[in-house]
Symmetry: C2
Subunit: 155 residues, 2 copies
Amino acid sequence: MNCTGLSQNAILDRLKESGCRITAPRKALVASLAESHTPQSVIELHAAANKRIGTPTDPEPVNLVTAYRFVNLLETQGLARRIDFAQGYARYEPTHPDDAHHHHHIVCDQCGKVEPFDDCDVDELSARIEARSGFVVMRHQLELYGKCADCSREP
Amino acid sequence: MNCTGLSQNAILDRLKESGCRITAPRKALVASLAESHTPQSVIELHAAANKRIGTPTDPEPVNLVTAYRFVNLLETQGLARRIDFAQGYARYEPTHPDDAHHHHHIVCDQCGKVEPFDDCDVDELSARIEARSGFVVMRHQLELYGKCADCSREP
DNA sequence: CTTTTTGCAAACATTTTGCAACTGG
DNA sequence: CCAGTTGCAAAATGTTTGCAAAAAG
């Protein structure tokens, strides 16, 4: 289970409340999303879901298209957050139950390791930019890139 | 001409110094990049370059593939910077002559307007994360999203 | 039984690659 | 002349869409 975001059941409950149907593919995708400790690509979620409920007879009960449609649903419902690490594809993580508690990530360029952090200073910067530019800042994306401890040891 | 990044001639000179050849497509692409005041997509650069040197007889003297190859060259040479606004494609801007002087952008979700800002607080945050996580932070991406002054007036 | 969801195929958008022809220096 | 550059066609990647069949409630 992921340590910061909505739990599997919380997501399923909120889906049901919204009148969405709970299906086997959705359960498997939600489970894969909720148990992950780092943001997952749609391809990773799709693979994890099929590993979870696939059988020798039917190794791929969840279609990739279904995964794409479902993450979009989760995002529009506010249950998952799309994150872009500039890798050419999007990643998703469960939203935090407390809406205000947002966090960011540091990504290792070498091994891809991702670690979250939640001490984010951007609010005062936002306020300054708002005052100066007339923009209303609604959200921000901040990602740090570098080398993780392991990768900094070797060249 | 863009007000913060390398000038057209500076880019061409540095290319020549590196042993790269200066061709008509490259001149047109560099001109398009250098004159832009906001980060440009490759498709935009390609269109601008062809508008610049295209003729009725040959409306597209610069191939899109050439544009892609060239922005990659500029990036590896440190002459352009790739920026990802999570729009499904990359944008490029000329790098700043002073390497340390980096900046970020605020993007209007509604009309796509982009404005740069250069008062960035992330350094102390980076230092804190480095100390705590063991990561060596090498760069960061920060983008603010919201509504520009014009778009906030109307719904 | 009705509406939502799924799977499949196919379309789409961006970016990359292989290769022969071309061209700048 | 010749290495570097280009254009074309084609492929690779990630994502979306149309539609009929399947399934949830």
